[in-house]
């Protein structure tokens, strides 16, 4: 049993489709009204069938009032760390603190390269992400005197002006599966964000994810509880329970409460573009999971 005691969050993973133009924004509005905590969007800038994710997030933020938004996850190789820092901070200020930073080292390198960015090896990509986090935090650290100074192998930010600072203590959540990236998260990030469908061994793989993060956090003198454990999930609401996350809302609640209590996962982000599913998830599943987990927590 692992539980980091995080407040539970429930979100949606919305396809950033460019056609119909406003579909993704409208789904974010549905999630906002339904009372979910998060609306998140994948980022594949090499695919023109999708909106530019940051533009979409900003536009959706302007059309919603309560929900928090983030990339899930933004493709670092096609986005500058300093720009990520400033744009997230700007939007966080405009929204009164509703923005988090979801970041990934890059997947689909063919697409990334096709757009003009440099292909990195997996090892390089981890180092680049580590440097990017340093740049981002340095830009956010607006009160510290002197300019940003990061001399990395991949990012050189020398003499860069600091600021703006986000309106709230913004989290950096990183999409990750492999040990090196997980250790980086333990040292430097605020959350880990894998997708259930990529966990080859199923939800049980989360135990290994936690192990890597927790060990690395302790080694670098951080409390493992500073790293939120998130999970992208897929599921189907059906009348009778068939399998994991395929059944009625009560079964979903038990499935998710199980993950929360077993692995300390505290953020469940459901991939769906169906308004009714978003509403059912918000109204039936989220409160029930909260209740089940609260009953088990000391």
């Amino acid at each position: 049993m692992t539980d980091y005691g995080h407040e539970l969050l429930f979100g949606t993973f919305i396809t950033p489709t460019a056609q119909p133009v406003h579909q993704a924004v409208e789904l974010a509005v549905v999630a906002d009204r339904a009372g979910l905590d998060l609306a998140t969007f994948q980022d594949h800038p090499y695919l023109p069938k999708f909106h530019d994710t940051w533009t979409l997030i900003t536009y959706a933020a302007a059309r919603t009032s309560r929900i928090r938004l983030s990339g899930n996850v933004l493709s670092l190789p096609l986005r500058q760390p300093a720009v990520l820092a400033r744009s997230h901070a700007s939007l966080d200020r405009l929204t009164g603190g509703r923005i988090e930073l979801g970041l990934g080292a890059g997947a689909f390198w063919d697409g990334i390269e096709a757009m003009g960015a440099r292909r990195l090896t997996p090892g390089q990509a981890v180092s680049a992400l580590g440097e990017a986090i340093r740049v981002i935090r340095a830009v956010w650290d607006a009160d510290r005197p002197g300019p940003v100074s990061v001399h990395g192998e991949f990012y050189q930010a020398e003499g860069l002006k600091r600021g703006p600072a986000p309106a709230h203590d913004m989290s950096i959540w990183v999409g990750a599966y492999k040990p090196r990236m997980l250790r980086l998260i333990g040292r430097a990030a605020d959350g880990v964000l894998p997708s259930l469908s990529y966990l080859e061994g199923g939800p049980g793989d989360y135990a290994t994810i936690n192990e890597h993060i927790d060990d690395s956090a302790r080694e670098s003198g951080r409390d493992p509880a500073r790293v939120r454990r998130l999970l992208n999930i897929n599921g189907t609401f059906s009348q009778f329970g068939r399998s994991f996350l395929n059944g009625p809302a009560e079964q979903w609640a038990e499935d998710l409460a199980g993950l929360a209590l077993e692995h300390g996962i505290s953020t469940f982000i459901l991939a769906t573009d169906d308004p009714a599913t978003i509403e059912e998830y918000a109204a039936e599943v989220a409160p029930a999971v909260r209740e089940l987990v609260a009953a088990e927590r000391p």
Partner: protein, 690 residues
């Protein structure tokens, strides 16, 4: 001056932007976000909280990221904001950045974007998404090099009156013009944007020679003092030389009637990608006219008449198979904007529908009244093409063809006259429209009598087809014996080595009682072992909501489709059909049910005359030669064809579509209504000669 004068406001907050919008400013320009924030983020935030004002970030530094990603972001913001974005760029290597951004936005260009510059390399980026409008690119900088670059490349050049004197500005404009001319452009193409203070008089502004004024003011002034400048110039469609260069020969582009000019699309236009092709067919027309009213249709036809030697296609929702609703180098008149659906008389269930509406839209609109109107099997198909040809739909055996519920049309004839046709007015024409409408004019509105339809049963079955000929015969018999509630179709593909042969059976049962539905489906489901079955009770809208939303047609090439009507699926026909499938020449083989109520209508009542058929057979393939060869042995079994699924242009096909007496009457009417053969893109009937 070419460009209408516009006013913009420099803003750094959404409150200021809203104020500018209220005051009637055309643009809001974000010079820089406060506290070193991100300009793009602020601009997008403003876009999300304003409705109509134009949007531009005047100092967007291209070092923000990869230019190709910037292009995508621009397309997104333009789409999300409804076509309000203008893109002002600053930074290094702007020639390359501009090329890449434009290359990404030019989604209509074929092939990926490959741009190998000195500083930026884009090996192979996919283009798009296609923005809502052509996003103007602004460049800035007072030095000669920047001005010359703008003259060569930009859609607008921005200067700031705080940093340039009126004299220097005049010199810069001369340089701008010279550079544009040198690059083979019309200098008028480039908008001149000037940042000014609030106090200038209209005369002072005019003297400066700019056409877009961005006002920098702590307290934004109203526009009344400058209103005279705006009144003086109306909106003009302006096409830069790069767009005009793509024009096709023989079209009087500059003679497009005023009302149509604002919506017309030509090959260099951004919207061209959205209108060039249809669902089934790739096209490259020289001009697409998009009338919004009947009188604009009249104007459009007058324009077409002036181009007798060019191909002319008429389009409603672009799902033509037989109908060549796109072409190469000719004119297309698209009725896509004429989509009104209204209830005229609730007691008679009388509705009026525009030709550009899609059948899914019609179903949605009348569902709240408890009505439906059988159309076809696909919701994206348009009213205009289908309701002038027949309409073999999901409720055909119960309620007949779509045209059987048509009670009147308004149409524009070849000579430009607007007429109504019904049983009591222009009855000849009304007869011809119901089956051969495309030959006689442009129908601008259809009046139908809908009927009550409750929930229906919708079955999708997959059955074994180990003996496909036997299956066809059994299915045919089961359909003919089924009550009229049942309409449906059968689909088979070519046999694939090593894979079980199966058939897809679909049926709609117009009955809202689940037990009756199952009972009526039972004999059909029993013809062969079932692999899969899915039966749902759904409103009629549920079976016709299968249209793709958003996006635009991107058909490529030419469809090859053949059609035949047949009374019974005899063993002989079935054997021939199985051989056809085995040939591999067709990838699509489908039999739809007609008969029932369709056959209740006497053959002479409408131009659609092959009423006795119980089935409509359709094949599609890619090679015309192979499809024709494989199809030939089947033709002996047919009694006519349904023109909507036939792509062969041989004159004999017209004789297959219309029995002799029908055809003779159609030829007489063609002579009367369209002697010069203006309407010829779909089963063209030769006028009778006298």
């Amino acid at each position: 001056m070419t460009h209408p004068v516009r006013f913009g406001a420099l803003v750094t907050s959404v409150a200021q932007a809203r104020r500018a919008e209220e005051l009637g400013y055309d643009l809001v320009a974000v010079p820089h976000a406060p506290d070193d924030g991100d300009d793009w983020t602020l601009l997008t935030w403003i876009a999300g909280q304003t409705e109509k004002v134009g949007l531009v970030a005047t100092g967007l530094d291209v070092a923000r990221g990869e230019p190709a990603v910037l292009g995508r972001a621009a397309a997104s913001l333009d789409l999300l904001s409804g076509g309000r974005l203008e893109l002002a760029l600053t930074g290094a290597h702007l020639d390359e950045v501009t090329g890449i951004v434009r290359g990404v936005l030019d989604a209509g260009e074929t092939g990926p974007l490959r741009f190998l510059g000195e500083h930026h390399r884009v090996p192979k980026a996919q283009r798009g998404p296609l923005p809502a409008h052509r996003i103007p690119i602004w460049l800035t900088g007072n030095d000669q090099q920047s001005v010359r670059l703008a003259g060569r490349l930009a859609d607008a050049w921005v200067a700031d009156l705080e940093r340039i004197t009126a004299d220097e500005l005049a010199t810069a404009y001369k340089q701008l013009e010279a550079a544009a001319t040198e690059a083979g452009r019309d200098p008028e193409e480039i908008r001149r944007v000037l940042i000014v203070g609030p106090g200038l008089s209209p005369a002072e502004l005019t003297a400066l020679g700019a056409d877009t004024f961005l006002v920098r003011a702590a307290e934004l002034p109203g526009l009344s003092a400058w209103e005279t400048l705006r009144d003086a110039t109306g909106p003009i469609i302006f096409r830069p030389s790069s767009v005009r260069a793509k024009r096709r020969p023989g079209i009087d582009y500059d003679g497009v009637p005023a009302g149509l000019a604002s919506t017309a699309v030509e090959p260099g236009d951004l919207d061209y990608a959205r209108v060039r092709s249809t669902y089934m067919r790739g096209g490259a027309p020289g001009l697409v006219l998009r009338p919004r009213t009947t009188s604009e249709v009249v104007d459009a036809l007058a324009f077409v008449r002036r181009h007798p030697d060019l191909p002319f296609g008429l389009r409603s929702a672009g799902h033509g198979v037989s109908g060549r609703s796109t072409n190469d180098g000719g004119i297309v008149v698209s009725l896509a904007a004429m989509t009104t659906i209204e209830v005229l008389d609730e007691s008679r269930r009388l509705i009026r529908v525009g030709p550009g509406a899609r059948w899914t839209d019609v179903a949605q609109a009348i569902h709240p009244y408890g009505w439906a109107l059988s159309s076809g099997d696909y919701g994206g198909v348009g009213v205009g093409g289908l309701a002038t040809a027949g309409g073999v739909g999901w409720l055909a055996r119960k309620h007949g063809l779509t045209i059987d519920h048509l009670v009147a049309v308004e149409m524009v004839l070849a000579d430009g006259s607007v007429v109504r046709a019904s049983d009591s007015e222009n009855a000849d024409l009304f007869w011809a429209v119901r089956g051969a409408g495309a030959n006689f004019g442009v129908v601008t509105s259809f009046e139908f009598e809908a009927y009550d339809v409750g929930d229906v049963g919708f079955a999708q079955l997959v059955v074994a087809a180990d003996d496909p000929a036997d299956l066809l015969v059994k299915w045919g018999r089961a359909i003919e014996e089924a009550p009229r509630d049942v309409s449906g179709q059968l689909i088979m593909g070519p046999p694939r080595p090593g894979q079980p042969v199966f058939a897809q059976l679909m049926a709609v049962v117009d009955n809202d009682d689940p037990e009756t539905i199952i009972e009526q489906l039972q004999p059909i489901a029993a013809i062969a072992p079932l692999y899969q079955q899915n039966v749902v009770l759904t409103p009629y809208t549920g079976v016709i909501s299968n249209a793709a939303e958003g996006g635009y047609h991107q058909g490529a090439g030419e469809p090859v489709s053949r059609s035949g009507l047949i009374e019974h699926l005899t063993p002989e026909f079935a054997r021939a059909a199985v051989e056809l499938l085995a040939s591999g020449a067709v990838h699509w083989f489908q039999i739809r049910t007609v008969g029932g109520a369709v056959a209740d209508v006497p053959a002479e009542q409408t131009a659609y005359a092959h009423r006795s058929a119980n089935f409509s057979v359709i094949v599609m393939g890619s090679s015309k030669q192979r499809v024709d060869a494989a199809w030939a042995p089947l033709t002996a079994h047919f009694d006519g064809l349904y023109l909507s699924f036939e792509t062969d242009l041989s004159p004999e096909r017209v004789e297959d579509a219309f029995p002799p007496r029908t055809l003779a009457r159609l030829r007489e009417l063609k002579h009367r209504y369209d002697p010069d053969n203006l309407f010829r893109d779909n089963f063209n009937i030769k006028a009778a000669t006298r």
